[in-house]
Symmetry: C2
Subunit: 421 residues, 2 copies
């Protein structure tokens, strides 16, 4: 049996898949137009956290290059603003880690070629797909660039939104004190926005990523539309003002004189994401299957940090099935989809649910947050379940589920947790 795998796109999904395949001696070629060197002068692509389940896969792939003791973080501080603010903390079962993808991706590219993987550096677009299909037994598409989105139809049943739900302003900053024990600080300014503060490894060492999730038409949206380069001092002042007003839990550790981009103006990324799920595969003219992976399959808003983890999960499942199966046909896709579907869809659905609930604050959601603030065990479970979005969807899929989850018998929890890995 012939297993020549073509991977279009050198993001987390494509690179982890390529590394998995090389570990199993399978021929893999990655197509990208960016060399490892290009990343040094590139704009921040995003600020993606890898949770423990992803780090476990990275360990298995031999790419766990950044020890979590020095670079990871250990839980979430939650801050819900308003007249009577709530603050509480929840622990992970094992640390998460956020490494600047301008470090992470070139490192994995070098790892991949060191393992005998081939990287073909050239621009590839949707028009090249038929040519490529003759050279490979399976094509995996994991980039939105090059018009590949057109190949995979939008899955309307799982794409409730036609436009972005937040205006984003994302950056890597210095001048914010780390907490004594590193943690994400996850804040909400009700009806205005959310801020996710992430301990972040960038070029110069540990810094702080700030992900401003600004409600459209609100007081914070200006952060998305103000350009740092136009007037750096004014930008810094604006951001500090907004932190002081909306996110005191971060502002209280910020030194206004030191506060600035960590490396350069390229550390700022502004824009918005339309949450979209696409069809998982398409049969090309010669019968070869093209399979969507990672962001191209499902794009989520970054508010819950699910994108990288679901891409990594899906890449691993796909790698296992490429190893296990001999023929890459519709049945192959069906088996892959059955194994990745629930986690990918749950990440999407849970993220979309939270975007809505954080905007409209329904009573049962307020009750949920209030209960977590009162009960550390619940806060720990919710926090650790960022690893397992399907468990979060089990909590939020129906209003009745929230109350059932809050009051359920947890005496068996240690056993369940041990089996969940």
């Amino acid at each position: 049996v012939s297993k020549r795998i073509g991977i279009i796109g050198a993001g987390t999904a494509g690179l982890q898949l390529g590394l998995y395949l090389r570990q199993h001696k399978i021929e893999a070629t990655i197509f990208t137009d960016r060399t490892p060197e290009d990343y040094t002068s590139a704009r921040l692509p995003n600020t993606v956290a890898h949770h423990a389940v992803t780090i476990q896969r990275e360990r298995a792939l031999g790419i766990d290059h950044w020890n979590t003791e020095d670079h990871g973080y250990f839980g979430h501080h939650y801050y819900l603003g308003g007249p009577d603010p709530l603050r509480f903390y929840g622990d992970y079962h094992a640390p998460s880690r956020a490494v600047d993808y301008r470090i992470y991706h070139p490192q994995l590219m070098n790892d991949f070629t060191a393992q005998g993987g081939v990287i073909d550096y050239r621009p590839i677009s949707e028009a090249d797909i038929d040519t490529l299909s003759a050279q490979f037994d399976l094509l995996v598409v994991c980039t939105g660039k090059g018009g590949f989105g057109k190949l995979f139809a939008r899955d309307a049943a799982h794409s409730p939104h036609e436009k972005p739900q937040r205006q984003l302003c994302v950056g890597v900053f210095k001048g914010i004190d780390q907490l004594p024990t590193r943690a994400v600080v996850w804040g909400a300014s009700p009806t205005q926005g959310e801020l996710i503060e992430i301990p972040y490894l960038t070029f110069g060492g540990m810094a702080t990523a700030l992900v401003f999730e600004n409600h459209i038409g609100g007081d914070l949206e200006v952060l998305t539309h103000t350009k740092y380069g136009d007037d750096p001092a004014a930008f810094r002042k604006l951001m500090l003002d907004k932190l002081a007003t909306h996110y005191p839990m971060t502002y209280e550790r910020t030194d206004p004189r030191e506060f600035d981009v960590a490396n350069s103006p390229l550390d700022i990324l502004q824009g918005a994401v339309t949450p979209t799920v696409r069809e998982t595969s398409v049969a090309l003219d010669n019968g070869t299957i093209a399979l969507a992976l990672g962001d191209l399959h499902a794009t989520v808003d970054p508010v819950l940090g699910q994108g990288g983890n679901m891409a990594s999960h899906a890449a691993w499942v796909l790698g296992e099935e490429i190893v296990a199966q001999d023929v890459f046909d519709h049945r192959f896709v069906e088996v892959v989809d059955a194994r990745r579907r629930d986690r990918v869809l749950a990440a999407t659905r849970w993220t979309n649910f939270m975007l809505g609930a954080l905007d409209t604050l329904p009573a049962e959601f307020q009750g949920f947050i209030g209960a977590l603030a009162q009960d550390r065990k619940l806060a720990d479970e919710f926090t650790d379940n960022f690893n397992f979005p399907e468990k979060q969807w089990d909590v939020f899929a129906h209003p009745a589920r929230i109350g059932a989850w809050l009051t359920r018998d947890r005496s068996q929890n240690d056993l369940v947790g041990a089996a969940a890995g």
Copy 2:
């Protein structure tokens, strides 16, 4: 949380589900119009084999009442007729067993009530569903009687046939010598029919079930339309003639003077099955979910003996999820379906594939049978995979898969087998 489960239908699916729930102290009520006593004078409902995976579940449920050493069978003899007949044998990893459902179902009903389950003896029809939905948190429908098929729409994508693919004549007989080691004898008379001969525990002890799968319009179809009661001697002579012509592998062990129904004329069942998959659930007016289970969810032709096993698998999965989850909503159904879907659909698809392939004998299918006849290891694997229909579908889903399966590296097989249970 309230978990009152109503189960409509007292077949294998409903009874095994009820027993699972009682084992976990969950309230379960089964509705049926037949008492255990009614079964003594009932017509043979079918002749269902339970494979090792099902017997394992029966053991866990405490209903493994018939030891396999005395009542089970250990593999399949295959016979493919034609000018140059093929005969070969394949082993199971553990025995299968076929118990007359006129013994099995009343026994399980008694087991269920002994475990605190409630059986409500009355006719129930689709018109009662709204009344019932007020009394239960979840309704499980596992009978085709009472018009419940109307509640669950036909799943056209997985129901390729509008009418039966075989005319069936099924019966329990005496006068056929058991093989020295009990086994199913699975014979095909190319383009005319298949005969499955099953060691079968009925009222008087071990006898032989014969399942005649007669191609429509062929020489054997007359078996489906000739009534035993009209002239028993003529019926016996007709069946013996057909056995002699089409199924010598069974005829050679038949004593014409002894050959007859094992118990009474009620041992004969004639008819036909339209393979049908239905939607898995429906939300009733008050929000309660009605979920289809067993034959009502997926009806298969009996040619591969998959019906009882997929019903038992689905019942077990459903039981586990009723125990694990607190709210019986669409998410509940989604999780149940994700866990039962591949096995149920694979049983259906594989059965439909075999019905077609046994009729048209495509070259790659003939090659497959020829290869099994030459290689005992392959015959064993194929035979044991009657336990795992999804593995059979992995072989037959695409013509290229057959060749890949025949030639694949099996050096890891023992490991894989150990993990597959």
